[in-house]
Symmetry: C2
Subunit: 341 residues, 2 copies
DNA sequence: GGCGTTTCGTATACCGTTATACGTCAATCA
DNA sequence: TGATTGACGTATAACGGTATACGAAACGCC
């Protein structure tokens, strides 16, 4: 095997399976067998081959391997990178896949469906063995099309009837109801919700699910729902939050679909001299690390992201293993009461 | 081209370059030429081929392509996912690579050198065209070995004499000096620094760089440096922070190597009834979004992560383009004064 | 009209693996 | 002893592209 000139003029000598075979004095197929723990290799042959691999520092090419066999690489697609809830999910996933000997590549979707689709296609092109999509913005129909091409698990996107992929979700409907009940118990009646201003085709996303939980609980308590929509979290939305706080009919309590809105709202209230929770109670969702800071002390709903990540990884591995009947899990969340409530 | 049985029993019909060639009634080579914008293809041929590609929904396999040509995919390695400074760097990188038609795959290193090395090898194996390592923990020597195999740019790791790769850094030395000068001007003399407890071989990391800037400025001001070491941010360290605040000789001002320590310290001080900045001034580093919250209002050094990301991406593209002389950039940071100072 | 030149397409040898088909040789069995 | 059976290796056709070599028209020029 000769070296070749790279684009930048640096010369590279790639150690391939042939280099190893030549060095060990065996056939290419024999080396491949050793690599794959395939049947029909003696201890002496294995020893010779492994010695050569070690000596030459050989590493098999994933690209070439992916053309026929498994890559032992999984793709994880995250909506966006700045969301503080996602690290816990990621760590959960990693703890399981690591133990199973799988590698992970991450794609960052920038909260745009087009970008996400591009990344999914890229992961399929790279012959990844499976995909975990976290809080994907892609519609169920499109997801279904991709999921037929590659084992897929979706986290944070409700498609309870999907056949081609699994879903792992927090019970967002119930989580929202818990918040409303807690605010009622604290004596509030004028309870508004800050929901994400999602477009059509997004009823499966978490915010709409929480919204219907909110509506259901409000109605059940004999109260009138009042939903305020704010732009998605990747856009500036301070003006909208400020409007909520300065409106003449400012509510007495606000349930935010995410800490991404609740934390800025809490800070803005403080700046405007509105006392929390005396003048305004605020409850968020995700129980992100910032919410737990004593200076913030924001009540929030905890989804146990790590657990969701673990379950997603387990589902993916079993699907890769051959399962075809879909699995749809719902985890009950937990309200963490803090000073803002 | 026949379909084949996948592991989970699902049947798949893959559209390859040969399918397209047959459909368009041309040779495989002609299709490849169209895909690569290569020389020698007429408008009529291009039209026919593109029509077939569209009709069949063909997408070239990155794996196969990677075996000979470019993959137009770049790898970005992030120390860890929970660090709130990294999103800005990532967005900076993406804004440049996007425009140049490159895709990005992210690896998450979990702040462990071994894991990082594994990910780098994986990215090389996947035939990525180049690598950006953000705040890597890997030693310069090892980096050099990898960088000889693949165009590499390192962000947040000082190796100003490296030949095989480029570096983009904030001037951490100068940033620390700025902090000390500002604290002096505010009348403080008893200024301690909270530095990361790095092992040996890590003098190129940002914390040690800031530490020597701190020492230099303290000495220049005729003050005695006082460095307190805390465990790295992926480990629990509340006990250490509490010890700093409850010690009988508690300093009057603390410069933290990162907001990751400064924010918890500020909150802990508040819990312990220590008034900031009256009893204790705190300055952090990174100017993370949390620091800017009015309720936190932590003075911090801003590194302009987006700009670093952009510069890193530009350097990588030019290196992929053939540049071999190394480029080492230092960006001057900016102190953002806030209530904690 | 003869003779280079372009221009446009095709044929095909790789790239680095996997996995199947097949050959060889020694041990076992009837 | 001849046939059967494993155990162990080898040879080689995929996999889905890229890129080079080369052939065949069409064109320009004197």
């Amino acid at each position: 095997m000769k070296g070749w000139q790279m684009a930048d003029g640096r010369e590279e000598v790639r150690v391939t399976i042939r280099t190893v075979a030549a060095d060990a004095g065996v056939s290419v197929a024999a080396v491949s067998k050793v690599l794959r723990n395939a049947y029909g290799v003696s201890d002496s042959l294995r020893g010779r081959v492994e010695a050569s691999i070690e000596k030459l520092g050989y590493r098999p090419s994933v690209a070439a391997r992916g053309m026929r066999g498994q890559t032992f690489t999984l793709g994880v697609l995250l909506v966006e990178i700045a969301n503080p809830f996602l690290p816990s999910v990621y760590h959960g996933i990693e703890s399981i896949t690591d133990a199973a000997g799988y590698k992970i590549m991450v794609g960052i979707g920038a909260a745009r469906a087009g970008r996400e689709a591009q990344l999914i296609e890229q992961m399929i092109d790279n012959r990844m063995d499976g995909l975990i999509l976290v809080a994907s913005q892609i519609s169920g129909e499109t997801l279904d099309r991709y999921a037929r091409q590659i084992p897929t698990v979706v986290v944070g996107h409700h498609e309870p009837t999907a056949q081609s992929f699994d879903t792992i979700n927090s019970d967002d409907f119930e989580g929202a109801r818990m918040v409303v009940r807690a605010l009622c118990e604290a004596g509030h009646r004028d309870i508004a919700m800050l929901a994400m201003d999602h477009g059509p085709d997004h009823s499966a996303d978490v915010s709409p699910q929480r919204e219907s939980g909110y509506r259901s609980a409000m109605t059940a308590a004999g109260l009138v729902p009042r939903v305020i929509r704010v732009p998605p979290s990747n856009l500036p939305r301070e003006a909208e939050l400020r409007a909520v706080l300065t409106a003449p009919d400012r509510p007495r309590a606000v349930f935010c679909w995410s800490d991404l809105d609740a934390v800025p709202l809490l800070n803005l209230a403080h700046q405007l001299g509105i006392r929390v929770p005396h003048d305004l109670a605020i409850v968020g969702y995700d129980n992100s690390p910032v919410a737990a800071l004593p200076l913030i002390s924001l009540a929030s709903v905890d989804q146990d992201g790590a657990r969701m990540g673990k379950m997603a990884a387990q589902a993916l591995l079993s699907r890769i293993g051959g399962r075809t009947v879909p699995e749809h899990r719902l985890i009950t969340p937990r309200l963490v009461p803090r000073a803002s409530l």
